[in-house]
């Protein structure tokens, strides 16, 4: 049984890492697109000879992205009722993720012979926030007419699964380890030291928790987190960056204009390059409209 848990857990970690890399590379390689931005405030287009003025800096864009991610700004502005639960869930999740980093670092750099009240409270508060947020989201999704509309049945199962996973984590720390962080740190240290006996005969509680966490590691590269990478990578790299002569953007555009057009409508010369097709309407016999 320990072998099965080992295979599933480490398999899910490997899958997660490989799939994240594959998806990130796929998204980063998306072709340069036409500009289609919108603006929340004044732009350089308000200035005479705007092309001689500095455009939106990378750091300004990054600041905006950070505020979006850490405050869920648009939900706060546009859908406050939903924001309360979403924000509770997300802030708890951020704290929980950092808590996991904490419980991996401490056993490596210390002797783990004293309890950490801060660590315990931090973990429990984070878990509580995620639990309350997730429960609130699930209830909203079940009862609010707008939030129910178009929501896939499978996603309801996802929220239930989150709640069970969190409950399992809480049980493991508070009941199995007796609310004592020394026990948690020792367990993690044994895992990191790859003590085979420990790994092949894990305690049932921790094995179950790990089994519940594994699907999340498989889901992570396929879920909405990667969409955020897709969005923000391109936003940070390409949005508001004008095409200037001799630039990297111009080189990419020229390459794209050299691609073949395959659209089939009569007004398009399928088989020619984009650059050629853009020169004008296809030649037609006199009197024939295209």
């Amino acid at each position: 049984m320990g072998g099965v848990v080992l295979a599933i857990f480490y398999g899910s970690i490997v899958f997660c890492i490989i799939a994240l890399i594959v998806r990130m590379v796929k998204y980063a390689r998306a072709p340069l697109h036409l500009r289609w931005e919108f603006y929340r405030s004044s732009s350089t287009y308000e200035l005479i000879d705007w092309w001689t003025k500095p455009h939106t800096s990378f750091w300004d864009k990054l600041k905006s992205v950070a505020l979006d991610i850490f405050l869920l700004r648009d939900y706060f502005r546009r859908n406050r009722g939903f924001w309360y639960w979403l924000y509770t869930f997300h802030i708890g999740l951020y704290l929980l993720v950092v808590w996991h980093v904490f419980i991996f670092i401490v056993p490596v750099v210390t002797n783990v012979d004293s309890n950490s009240t801060v660590g315990l409270v931090w973990g429990h508060v984070a878990t509580f926030l995620v639990f309350v947020g997730a429960a609130g989201i699930l209830i909203k999704r079940l009862t609010d007419k707008e939030l129910k509309a178009y929501y896939s049945r499978l996603h309801y199962f996802k929220w239930l699964f989150i709640l069970v996973t969190l409950a399992g984590g809480f049980y493991a720390v508070q009941v199995y380890f007796g609310g004592n962080m020394v026990g948690v740190f020792s367990y993690v240290r044994a895992q990191l030291a790859f003590e085979l006996e420990h790994k092949l005969n894990p305690p049932v509680v921790t094995a179950l928790h790990v089994l519940f966490v594994s699907p999340w590691l498989i889901y992570l590269p396929l879920g909405h987190v990667m969409q955020l990478f897709f969005r923000y990578y391109h936003e940070l790299r390409w949005d508001h960056v004008p095409n200037t002569r001799g630039s990297n953007i111009e080189r990419k555009v020229q390459k794209l204009l050299n691609q073949t057009v395959t659209w089939s409508a009569p007004h398009i010369q399928s088989g020619k390059k984009w650059g050629e097709v853009a020169q004008g309407l296809p030649e037609t016999p006199a009197g024939e409209d295209k």
Partner: protein, 534 residues
């Protein structure tokens, strides 16, 4: 009574209309005389029209898709749609918008936050088919079921009951013309999903793969522009006659003969107007000429094909037509050796040529392009024109064209100008980047066929009417003339129709016009008022 419609319903019951639009469902308008909407607000199609064209979405037809004559033709059209969808979802065929489309299709979490942003959805009384999410969800479900691996199996698990048949495709084609691509929904989405883009991409699929679009946008629009010179059919010869007429009219109005430069090589600026201004609002390009003459601006118009038409309907429905037009326009500027191209009062021309064309024009076609607004602000606000705001002593509100404001971030110059030259300026609410579309966007303002104008007046334009009436509620009496400053040809076309339909000029003395006309009306050296209040 309003029916609840799910995305899967788009494939069902081809003989029944999905929704009925009735006056009770529409949001009320704040007319002081308490008048009620006509019932029905949208005139039914004639029996011949119903028999000939698809109209089972909402009883309105604008794409005028003829019904297939045979089952084989139906199957061929369904296959063509699927081929088009595959191309739309491929990087090689849709490099222009692939990244944004894939993000939109994959990142929506169905929170429905964007719906309340949509003036069409809200004005209609929250009809489900006008939700920004509805259109996107239909496309998403078709993709998941018919394109993605294992789609049909997963569709059963997920309750995805959409069927790809002629009814779905025909209704989707019409539905692609129930959104003005104002992208207010996109600015509300916390995840980066852009349902306005979905409209754009759907229209593109129909046009570029199946050759289906509206006559106004294609044959009479972009094709005409590329062949004749103007989307309004204005030929180079007709344009030159108009320029002569402009010079005569300017002399008549101002007492001064102003030479309008045309085809002047080496000028600083090539000014391109929407050719609709020459046809319907000649006072607007005349006003530009008066202002530029007074300020000594070195500019020129062009009489060449592509040089006097700022319009680019390809922006709304077809990347290939879009590219052809921008290349044509840039070639004219290159030939004239101007330093920059300047767009006149046309919203989508601003966005098309300044921003989107940025990654189509390369090398010596990449000539700088900018809005007229920064220069006009400099002339007005830095004392380069002699102006008297008391000549514009009447209530004025400002229309924010979506393509200039929300989609380009040009928000303040026009406000600073209006505050400088008007004494009674008040904003519509909301305004700026949160503005509502006039309801004529994405080419709707030029669509006059069948019963689409009724839909445009009663649904897509409804919120704008409400905003204008509320902006002037403290001075609504007809004795006080009021001006909706509208620096966009397309918005003006919509305003013209709305003001006529709702009798806003006749009953409440509400007029519309451009920004430059207001500036000229404030010019001290011109004795007679420039605004004609017609």
């Amino acid at each position: 009574m309003k029916k609840e419609i799910q995305p899967g319903d788009i494939s069902k019951n081809p003989e029944e209309q999905l929704i009925d639009i009735s006056a009770e469902d529409l949001i009320p308008l704040p007319f002081p005389d308490g008048r009620e909407d006509e019932q029905p607000p949208i005139k039914p199609l004639t029996e011949d029209q119903k028999a000939a064209y698809e109209n089972s979405l909402d009883g309105v037809s604008v794409v005028a898709i003829p019904r297939p004559a045979t089952k084989e033709e139906e199957e061929r059209l369904v296959e063509s749609f699927l081929n088009g969808l595959r191309k739309l979802l491929s990087k090689e065929n849709n490099w222009t918008f692939w990244q944004q489309l894939m993000l939109t299709l994959d990142s929506c979490v169905k929170c429905q936050t964007c719906n309340e942003a949509c003036p069409i959805y809200v004005s209609s009384g929250n009809q489900d088919i006008y939700r920004p999410t509805f259109r996107a969800e239909v496309l998403r479900r078709i993709k998941k079921k018919y394109i993605d691996k294992g789609g049909k199996f997963l569709a059963k698990l997920n309750g995805n009951d959409i069927e790809l048949n002629w009814t779905t495709i025909a209704r989707l084609a019409e539905l692609a013309y129930r959104c003005t691509i104002c992208r207010r929904c996109a600015t509300w989405c916390p995840l980066g999903s852009d349902n306005g883009l979905v409209t754009h991409e759907l229209r593109k699929l129909f046009s570029q793969e199946m050759g289906i679009s509206t006559k106004e946008l294609h044959e009479s629009g972009s094709v005409q522009q590329l062949k004749v010179g103007g989307s309004t059919g204005v030929s180079p010869k007709a344009f030159m006659s108009m320029v002569e007429f402009m010079e005569d009219e300017i002399e008549e109005k101002t007492g001064k003969r102003v030479k309008v430069p045309v085809d002047k090589e080496g000028a600083d600026i090539l000014l391109i107007h929407n050719s609709g201004e020459f046809m319907s609002w000649l006072e607007n390009p005349e006003a530009f000429s008066i202002i530029f003459d007074a300020a000594g601006v070195d500019y020129t118009l062009s009489s060449e094909l592509g040089g006097y038409e700022g319009t680019n309907y390809g922006l709304f429905y077809d990347d290939v037509q879009f590219s052809r037009i921008v290349v044509q326009q840039a070639k004219v500027a290159k030939k004239l050796k101007v330093k920059k191209i300047m767009l006149g009062e046309c919203g989508h021309a601003h966005k098309a040529l300044t921003v989107i064309a940025d990654r189509v024009l390369t090398g010596d076609l990449n000539i700088p392009r900018e809005s007229f607004l920064p220069l006009l602000e400099d002339l007005v606000c830095n004392g380069k024109l002699k102006l008297d705001a008391s000549r514009n002593d009447f209530p004025v509100t400002l229309q924010d064209p979506c393509n200039i404001v929300r989609l380009m971030g040009i928000i303040e110059p026009q406000r600073r100008i209006v505050r400088k030259i008007c004494t009674q300026f008040r904003e519509m609410e909301p305004h700026g980047v949160d503005n509502y579309c006039c309801g004529g966007g994405s080419g709707f303002a030029i669509h006059q066929s069948m019963n689409f104008p009724d839909w445009r007046m009663n649904v897509s334009g409804r919120m704008k009417v409400k905003q204008i009436m509320e902006a002037f509620q403290d001075c609504i009496t007809p004795e006080i003339k009021k001006y909706v400053c509208t620096p966009c040809s397309n918005c003006k076309g919509q305003m013209r129709d709305l003001f006529s339909y709702y009798e806003m000029t006749d009953k409440y003395s509400i007029f519309y016009g451009g920004l430059v006309e207001l500036v000229v009306n404030a010019m001290v050296d011109i004795k007679e008022p420039y605004l004609a209040w017609e």
